[in-house]
Amino acid sequence: MKKIIYLDNAATTKTAPEVVEAMLPYFTEYYGNPSSVYELASMSKKAVTESREQIAEALGAKSNEIYFTAGGSEADNWAIKEAAEAYKDKGKHIITSKIEHHAVLHTCEALEKKGYEVTYVDSDEKGIVDLEKLKKAIRKDTILITIMFANNEIGTIQPIKEIGALAKEHGILFHTDAVQAFGHIPFLVDDYHIDMLSASGHKLKGPKGIGFLYIRKGIKIRSLIHGGGQERARRAGTENVPGIVGLGKAVKMAFTKMKENTAKEKELRDYLIDRVLKEIPYTRLNGDGIKRLPNNVNFSFQFIEGESLLIMLDMEGICASSGSACTSGSLDPSHVLLAIGLPHEIAHGSLRLTLSEENTKKEIDFTVDTLKGIVEKLRSMSPLYEDFMKRG
């Protein structure tokens, strides 16, 4: 494989070698079923317990509030559907935002079909959920507020503390999809009044297909999977032991090195943003300048289309992503970019670059230099650019 510059860490991350190493014995050595009684199985059980404790500590939670799932989407589905079911006698109204991940949005849409009412709160043009509108959306029959911690496309960090306080004040359950935030920005569930929280292993150098849902003690929520007694009988099924071990290790690493890593990422991020905005005309930065994930960059280049841009970057070994329709298989560009008010053609020309602390300044320089050439080439082919230049 040719040398690649990986700038798509919001899509997934490279599993850390230390994580892989920690997982390996649980395939071939300690392969026992954690529910079995013999010595061999106790190793698996211990590993699951330790991972759970690791995660609980990172969140300032108790270990019996952590439920392993097969990733972020599952945790989102569980939290929203089963809380809605459990609290339906109190009401059938849910509040979320227009910029959520599809794991939340499509779950809410599915609930609408079952007779729930959902309010999708606007965000401002930077991509921050509008607190005033959220407050106004609260009703007597509101049972759940679900707002993401940080947006996966434009990296905006939401006012989770304020929303948590608001939910608490009104006695409403508060769930947050923290898939992009957990392990990247520091917070404790109690300080933020979070009742439920989703996270996923593969966004913080852990394995894919493993994540968890934090459920505050005392919250009524239906079981997701019925079967054996695993995960306090709320999510049955023999545990993904290697995955759980890997997740625990990844969380430990992420929290130990958070300060150091985010400092590096921020420096690279700001350097990348500065160079691109200075050197490529007709470009805008999507999202907020400050309330932004340390590793997220999202641009719109006028007059060009994102998929073409991605293919050309890929030819140079640069992995990135775009909110263009062509990359999603639908006709509409990203719902997040439309929600912050971008016209369709500007949304089609978006590019997301998400860094890791392993990226280097040299890689960023190469990326910006390459990007300049590609944007220029695509513009020279673009009828929109032609019209724009002729109009003057």
Binding site: G329, E345, S382, P383, L384, E386
Partner: protein, 145 residues
């Protein structure tokens, strides 16, 4: 995702650019859907396409189909160019992913739109040619941001 031919036409598109005094120009698609194609034709007095250029805003398939379409009509008579269908463009590119088939339709429409413009300017009719359906300027007026 794309065939080698598509990748070739995408990375080295043929006939990109504009013509100074084109016999016909056709622009189809709209920015909302993420594809706009513009085709320029230079047609001689024997109704033969002497030259053809394009500009495209769109995905890899949109660029490749425009490039291939221009290659296919170049040197052909207007009548022969009418036989360059989206299927012909797709076949010449060794196929397209199903979600990208509309790009080849757009290429056919862009050629037709340019031929229509040529026919109108010269007061002639071309057998089988219908007024182009999509025109960005019509679509743009409907758009409110």
């Amino acid at each position: 995702m794309y065939s080698e031919k598509v990748m070739d036409h995408f990375s080295n598109p043929r006939n990109v650019g504009e013509l100074e005094a084109p016999s016909g120009i056709g622009t189809v698609g709209n920015a909302k859907c993420g594809d706009i194609m513009r085709i320029y034709l230079d047609i001689d007095e024997n109704q033969r396409i002497r030259d053809c250029k394009f500009k495209t805003f769109g995905c890899g398939a949109a660029v490749a189909t425009s490039s291939m379409a221009t290659e296919l009509v170049k040197g052909k008579t207007v009548k022969e160019a009418m036989e360059v269908t989206n299927k012909a463009v797709m076949e010449a590119l060794d196929g397209l992913p199903p979600v990208k088939v509309h790009c080849s339709l757009l290429a056919e429409e862009a050629i037709h739109a340019a031929l229509w413009d040529y026919a109108e300017k010269n007061g002639i009719t071309i057998d089988g040619l219908e007024k182009p359906k999509s025109d960005i300027h019509e679509e743009e007026e409907e758009e409110e941001y």
